[in-house]
């Protein structure tokens, strides 16, 4: 390594250059320049994962704020806060502190609402990002491991969301915990033990809140952080996938360099995501726990839905027929076990195994860095669309009572409608998607913006159609890609104001 002494004025890059040299002497940071040159492909759909990442950052920051005021305890206190309807009532410390941090702590309500919105956006962005990865085949070799990590992130995010939703100890979340307890209880053989060990006894007990709290603020966030780090490390190491296009091959990446262009855009995007969540927190009320009241196991509210990512489970539970199995001196509550344990188990196992399933089926063991257009893989696209359709129907099924009320239909009609749709819609979605894909394959340039044809009538009455030039943005993608500028001084060039051979901060390299 160079033993450059940082003396003034020898470095053409000034103080910053000196600092970088000092760092390089100790850590070899200059070798990290390849990271600055790293090229990221441009496509709007590559932004979805960024939304997830940035809402996760918002979650961490707002979450830290909330932990400073939230008290994870279910012991009862008499409320003496600023929310009048509750004054004098005996409520749990968890609920009291949640109401207090909403009303008595300056900015507290905003932080709580931002935290909740960021959670919904986090899970939503993960799902949409996964859909992008799935439909474009980005999960294929060599990226199966990152698909697995991503799926785990989704599972953990949903669990984390449920736990956080439970912490305020309000009436709605308490009912959610009750249902979760009964779902665990329904697991054959070990269910009662799992439920008793997880909840520290029969429902509700006093250990849930502190236990959920530590899982929510420490254990799962740690795992999430580690996995997010691994996810990004693999992304950098394996380099991003790209859509096929001019000059794009399996062996290159075409796009914008990390520093400064991508960095500027993505940092701006971080601010915009944070800003959007703050605006939602300001203007869109979410989970007004003070209106629900505190949790009391003997009370219940009507027409309350869980957060959207739990909707499919609730819908599945609603439309399942009452098929309890009992015999051999035992009971298996199939009406609970099938929709809420077996069904999500099958779905997530399929998601985890999909890269392997597809590789086995297609016998394709090649490395893939170019993405598929979804229409070119009609079977995969149709299968994915089918699963999404099923989830969407089950999600709608989680509000059968509201639908029945709103449309003045009988609950029975709605229930049977949802049961039929649950079977029929996914079955129809598959062939319809397949056909659409097949038809799209016939169109050249499908998915690209169409340019207008300018029709001109000549003086002779003749009509001439001339296609307008391509949109500037589309034309841009057709440009020849440049190599990323290296800033490494070519051997025949001389760095400004520095004589050849003098110790400088500029490295020389033969290219």
């Amino acid at each position: 390594m160079s033993k450059t002494k940082a003396t003034k004025s020898t470095n053409p890059y000034g103080k910053v250059g000196d600092i970088l040299n000092e760092l390089d002497d100790r850590l070899g940071v200059a070798k990290g320049r390849s990271l600055l040159d790293k090229v990221f492909p441009d496509h709007w759909s590559f932004m979805l994962g960024e939304i997830a990442l940035y809402s996760f950052i918002v979650l961490l920051l707002t979450g830290i704020f909330l932990t400073l005021y939230y008290i994870p305890s279910s012991s009862l206190v008499t409320y003496h806060g600023s929310y009048l309807p509750l004054v004098g009532q005996k409520i749990s410390e968890a609920y009291a502190s949640s109401v207090n941090l909403s009303f008595a702590v300056r900015g507290g309500l905003l932080m709580r609402q931002m935290h909740h919105w960021a959670c919904d956006i986090f899970v939503g962005a993960i799902i949409v990002h996964m859909a992008r990865v799935f439909f474009t085949g980005a999960f294929r070799k060599p990226r199966e491991l990152n698909w697995t990590i991503g799926t785990t992130l989704l599972v953990l995010a949903i669990a984390e969301g449920f736990l956080g939703y439970s912490l305020p100890d309000d009436l709605v979340s308490g009912t959610g915990i009750r249902i979760a307890y009964s779902i665990i209880l329904s697991i054959p053989v070990v269910g009662t033990y799992v439920a008793f060990f997880l909840f520290g006894g029969n429902f509700p007990g006093t250990t849930i809140i502190p236990r959920f709290f530590i899982i929510h603020v420490l254990i799962i966030p740690l795992i999430l952080l580690g996995l997010v780090g691994a996810h990004l490390y693999l992304l950098v190491r394996q380099k991003h996938t790209q859509f096929p296009g001019k000059g794009r091959t399996e062996n290159n990446v075409v796009g914008t360099p990390m520093y400064p262009v991508f960095m500027a855009k993505t940092t701006g995007f971080l601010l915009v995501v944070g800003g959007a969540i703050a605006l939602l927190g300001a203007f869109a009320q979410i989970n007004p726990i003070w209106q629900f009241g505190f949790y009391d196991a003997a009370r219940i509210s009507y027409a309350v839905q869980p957060d959207f990512y739990m909707g499919f489970l609730d819908g599945a539970l609603r439309i399942m027929p009452a098929w309890e199995f009992s015999g051999f001196g035992h009971t298996i509550p199939l009406e609970v076990t099938l929709p809420s344990v077996v069904f999500p188990g099958i779905v997530f196992t399929l998601v985890y195994m999909w890269p392997g399933i597809e590789r086995k089926y297609t016998k394709d063991n090649e490395l893939h860095n170019l993405l598929d257009r979804p229409s070119l893989r009609p079977k995969r696209t149709a299968a994915g669309a089918s699963v999404f359709a099923l989830m969407a129907i089950l999600f709608i099924g989680s509000s059968t009572d509201v639908i029945a009320n709103f449309f003045h239909m009988s609950l029975n009609t709605v229930l049977w409608l949802m049961r039929i749709l649950t079977i029929v819609v996914p079955l129809i979605t598959y062939p319809v998607t397949y056909r659409i894909c097949k038809e799209m394959q016939g169109f050249a340039g499908a998915g690209k913006r169409k340019t207008t044809n300018v029709v001109v009538r000549t003086a002779d009455g003749e009509y001439v159609a001339t296609p307008a030039p391509v949109y500037v943005d589309d034309a841009h993608h057709e440009l020849d890609a440049l190599p990323v500028p290296t800033f490494v001084v070519e051997s025949d060039e001389v760095a400004p104001s520095v004589a050849e051979g003098a110790p400088t901060g500029v490295r020389r390299a033969e290219r």
């Binding site: 009662t192 796009g255 855009k265 701006g268 800003g275 300001a282 203007f283």
Partner: protein
């Protein structure tokens, strides 16, 4: 310093202002700069406004509006800067295979198998002992880790606090008299002394309904369970344990708001709709000399949702 500034416009060597690799807007950089300046200034003003709103303790939405607006304007400005004033390529980077050469692979495998594996192979007994030790530790360590988390279920799920002669009290602890309810009325009751406890509320909760003025039989074999038209059912839904909190008086149905299971109170709370598989257990009632309602015994079957150990 001037030399450094000279270098700035040629951030990409060989790029001129009319280069197609620049955004079209970059050909009028002064205009773009002006727009971005405005965005940044508005962003700064809003961020200052956030501080003012905080100090002045304005309504919560002003905090979010200024903060969200400030971040958004700064972000949009920064994105615009990156998009319009920086070279946008496309640039190309070569992708190098991550896989190692054949020699490296062989050497690696050799090191793993021969250097490491051979050591174990030569000392099979030691290896086995170490494996056994770690395995035993794993199993033993799991006991305190898992077992201490909670009590064994044992019979907990089979019993409630109702027993022979337990008085029915409402949520305030007041005993319920036969003269209290009009026909068609409903009240949630608890075993006396349990109305304020977690277990009382979560497990023992029972709905008491008055169906008529004379003794009411909901099912064969339950002739004595409904004195003077009072019947009592466990309030825990047999589907997922939500409180069966809605009473549809005209149809004589108890409805669970969670997943819309319905139970007919006239015939032993048989489920008539929804996913609940079993009727709500009925609590046998009796009336003492003063006219206060008591339970004859505990429920005859476990209350709430199904589980593996449940018989029948």
């Amino acid at each position: 310093m001037s030399e450094h500034e000279q270098r700035t416009p040629v951030a990409i060597s060989g790029l001129s202002v009319d280069d197609p690799h620049l955004q079209p807007a970059a050909r009028r950089p002064e205009l773009v700069e002006r727009v971005i300046t405005i965005l940044f200034v508005v962003g700064i003003i809003l961020c200052v406004g956030f501080g003012v709103a905080y100090v002045q303790n304005w309504a919560p939405w002003t905090l979010g509006a200024t903060m969200g607006g400030g971040l958004s304007f700064l972000g949009i400005g920064l994105i615009a800067w990156g998009k319009y004033l920086m070279p946008r390529g496309p640039f190309v980077e070569e992708r190098h295979s991550l896989a190692s050469s054949e020699e490296e692979r062989t050497a690696f495998a050799a090191a793993v198998v021969e250097r490491g594996g051979a050591v174990v192979k030569r000392r099979k007994v030691l290896g086995g002992l170490l494996g056994t030790g770690l395995g035993v530790f794993g199993v033993v360590a799991a006991f305190p880790l898992v077992r201490s988390l909670g009590p064994m279920p044992k019979g907990t799920l089979f019993h409630t606090d109702w027993a022979k002669g337990t008085y029915l009290v409402d949520i305030t602890g007041r005993r319920v008299n036969v003269s209290d309810l009009a026909i068609g009325s409903i009240v949630t009751v608890f075993p006396e002394g349990m109305q304020d406890t977690d277990n009382g509320q979560a497990v023992d909760q029972t709905v008491l309904i008055r169906l008529s003025n004379s003794d009411f039989t909901t099912m064969k074999g339950r002739e004595t369970w409904g004195p003077q038209g009072y019947v009592a059912y466990s309030k825990l839904c047999t589907h997922l344990g939500c409180p069966v909190g809605l009473y549809e008086q005209e149809l004589e149905l108890l409805v669970c708001p969670c997943h819309q299971s319905m139970f007919n109170v006239l015939n032993g709370a048989m489920p008539t709709f929804g996913p609940a598989p079993r009727p709500l257990p009925q609590l046998p009632l009796m009336v003492d000399a003063m006219g206060y309602l008591q339970s004859q015994s505990d429920f005859k079957e476990p209350v709430g949702p199904g589980f593996w150990e449940r018989r029948s």
